[in-house]
Symmetry: C2
Subunit: 95 residues, 2 copies
Amino acid sequence: MIESEVNNLALLLKSISHPIRLQILCLLQTSELSVGEIRKEMQTSGANISQHLNIMRNQGIIASRKEANFVYNRIADQRVIELMKTMKQLFCSIS
Amino acid sequence: MIESEVNNLALLLKSISHPIRLQILCLLQTSELSVGEIRKEMQTSGANISQHLNIMRNQGIIASRKEANFVYNRIADQRVIELMKTMKQLFCSIS
DNA sequence: TAAGTATTTAACTATCAACTTAACTACACG
DNA sequence: CGTGTAGTTAAGTTGATAGTTAAATACTTA
């Protein structure tokens, strides 16, 4: 791994190394969801979720589209979906 | 993923989400190395490397053995080796 | 045992990350 | 228009993280 790759990968990992962000990525593995739909599955404020989504948007991991007054979110990078799959297989009992 | 798995995985990812720690893991992919040998490959102080190694030891990712006055380090968890391989394949041009 | 090498630890400073609250924007619909 | 709902943003507080320096430990060898 060259230096820039190490740095970029560290940034990417940092942006997913938080329980709330990991859980959001799990939820988005199969389908696009609005902020409110994500929120229903988690125990924190909407502001907090919005901030965590923003961290991942800034990293290019999550893309959003607005429809009416809902914002629908999806995983923007297929490699992150693959990475999540691998991590589930390696670190979870039932993936 | 259940809640405890999400939390543990977040801790694990956090402990590798730093350029220095990622680079150390790269170096240790194939062989065990002393702190000094690791240091030669990197641009930071020995104290700093020791601190980063300690973060990964506390997480159970790295195991160390002492021989004479060298401390040899290796990746203690085969799953982390697998994870590194996957990340290289996904995010590096030449893995 | 004294001096040298390898590594760790402690103390400190600076920077960053997370959460809360409240204010704000955007859109829908009566 | 005004009200309600969805989501974002800003400000402030608190706690965590990173790096530097210096001191301490552990071992080796003369």
